[in-house]
């Protein structure tokens, strides 16, 4: 596969070199993500897409982690008699609570999909899309 390329820089003394000096100076956050030797293969036609896929998979992992933690919480609370998981399953909010929750979902969806909304805006209102270097020149004359 010829899409092979190295994305990270040198590991010897450069900004990515975070080798510890002793047991008390381990940079676990950055070292966890150390790159292994050899060029990284890209399988998808676009390396940019593969990048996004990797970010999405990492986020998906964290959703699973949250789900497992929530499950732990529910089970512990139930074992202490504080909640009833069947009641959670059967829960139906009253009108006002249901509206609040829908509102939250709507805001959340809009935050996630912001870029699509703004791309449509760009097509709909081309006059509002002057390149910034031109605006800079124009504003210099104002």
């Amino acid at each position: 596969m010829d899409k092979t390329q190295e994305l990270s820089g040198s590991h010897a003394g450069g900004p990515l070199d975070h080798s510890p000096i002793d047991a008390s100076s381990v940079n676990d956050i950055l070292m966890a993500g150390d790159k292994s030797k050899g060029g990284r293969p890209y399988f998808l036609e676009s390396a940019e897409t593969e990048r996004i896929m990797n970010v999405a998979m990492a986020v998906a992992t964290e959703v699973a982690v949250l789900r497992e933690r929530l499950d732990t919480l529910e089970r512990l609370l139930e074992s202490k008699g504080l909640i009833d998981r069947a009641a959670i399953e059967a829960y139906e909010p009253d009108e006002a609570s249901a509206q609040e929750r829908q509102l939250w979902h709507a805001r959340y969806a809009a935050r996630i999909l912001r870029i699509f909304q703004q791309e449509l805006d760009a097509i709909a209102r081309p006059e509002n899309n002057t390149p910034m270097h031109r605006i800079a020149d124009e504003i210099n004359e104002m």
């Binding site: 510890p20 047991a23 676990d28 933690r69």
Partner: protein, 400 residues
């Protein structure tokens, strides 16, 4: 409990946690549980899609264009790599491997100092079972690549006494293998020990050499199966040996000594000093020249009448389809085990002849991991995942 016919991988907490095992937080365990499931989906749902894409469109379109079939696995690779099914599978498989490494490293590196301390304390108990060498030279084939995409591979020590990479390996192989190697990830060693005992009930080895032992996953079951024997487990990686020696003590296995040595040159061992020389999933992580020097050394240290056995992935033979060779090659290039392809092109009979096994003594068998976590035990069917399946080729023979 709601039932599904979908085969679940075992949860990570089924791993047997010994005294020097790293501590995992709730979320670190959850991360591994998710990754096991991700691997399971990629290997059982997505991987078979490659064959469908190959049979239904990649091969027919190649045949139509060229008027012939593929000549070798490399040509097949060129065409498969343009297929979107292969691309998606490859991208995800690579991604899960990288995530497994990052998540494992995050867990062990945050406790690297404590782990080194636990290992040191464990090693101080009872008789010495570890020999590390000052100024030891790690073989070039190990320094050249990070096998399995483990940054730093088996030999990197981040500080004096460090065992982080070994602890990462010990706690994470369960995720890559989908738990199919059992609760101590020792299904390979258990399988070979069982096979030798059953096949050669009159064989009572006194001195066993396990080459490329890593942290001793497979040396320990052999030592336990032959308690009258003294097992010498060698490896180039100090963190693996240090952790392995402590782990052996923690698991109460006292007839194994871990020694830092280069299998291609073992002057520390006398001629004909071993009755059994074993390697397990080691030869494909060596190099094209080193492997022959290793065979010479095995010939030298193995006593006449002794046995040498090697657990490996299947060799690429003319009987193996190009498609299967291509699928098996994935790990060579994309899971950083680059000698895998070349090694599996060699004839094991030739290698064994170099190691002192005459052709008429050569043997080759298939073994399946002994897995205490598999509800169906050894009779259970396992999904074909090529280089990841717990089914191996064992070759070797008696030295005359």
């Amino acid at each position: 409990m709601p039932m599904s016919s979908y085969q679940l991988p075992p949860v990570w907490t089924k791993l047997r946690r010994h005294e020097v095992f790293p501590t995992f937080s709730h979320d670190e365990r959850a991360r591994y549980n998710f990754l096991s499931n991700l691997n399971r989906f990629v290997s059982t749902v997505m991987a078979p899609g490659n064959r469908i894409a190959f049979e239904n469109r990649v091969r027919p379109s190649f045949q139509e264009k060229h008027g012939r079939d593929f000549q070798d696995r490399h040509e097949l690779q060129d065409y498969m790599s343009k297929d979107p099914v292969y691309q998606a599978w490859g991208a995800l498989r690579r991604s899960t491997m990288e995530m497994r490494q990052q998540n494992g490293r995050a867990a062990v590196l945050r406790q690297a100092a404590e782990l080194a301390g636990k290992v040191c304390e464990q090693l101080s108990k009872g008789p010495q079972n570890l020999e590390l060498k000052e100024g030891f030279t790690v073989p070039p084939y190990l320094r050249h690549v990070d096998n399995h995409l483990m940054p730093g591979s088996y030999h990197t020590e981040y500080f004096q006494g460090d065992v982080a990479n070994a602890a990462n390996y010990d706690s994470g192989l369960f995720v890559t293998s989908g738990g199919m190697l059992g609760s101590l990830t020792d299904g390979g060693g258990q399988a070979i020990a069982k096979w030798v005992k059953e096949t050669y009930p009159d064989f009572h080895p006194k001195r066993i050499l396990d080459i490329g032992c890593g942290l001793g996953h497979n040396a320990l079951p052999i030592a336990q199966a032959f308690p009258a024997a003294q097992v010498t487990a060698i490896d180039a990686g100090a963190p693996m040996l240090r952790y392995g020696a402590a782990r052996a003590k923690a698991l109460g296995v006292h007839n194994v000594t871990f020694i830092q040595a280069d299998a291609a040159s073992m002057p520390e061992f006398e001629d004909a000093g071993f009755d059994w020389v074993q390697t397990t999933m080691f030869l494909h992580e060596t190099g094209g020249k080193a492997i022959h020097r290793i065979m010479q050394e095995i010939r030298r240290v193995l006593t006449p009448g002794g046995i040498t056995l090697h657990i490996e992935q299947p060799q690429y033979t003319p009987e193996m389809s190009l498609y299967e060779q291509f699928m098996r090659d994935w790990d060579a290039y994309y899971n950083a085990e680059p000698y895998w392809g070349h090694m599996h092109d060699l004839q094991p009979q030739d290698l064994m002849e170099e190691a002192g096994v005459p052709r008429e003594e050569f043997m080759q068998i298939g073994v399946k991991a002994v897995n205490d976590l598999d509800p169906k035990k050894e009779d259970g069917k396992v999904a074909e995942d090529y280089g990841r399946s717990p089914i191996w080729n064992v070759f070797g023979g008696w030295k005359r």
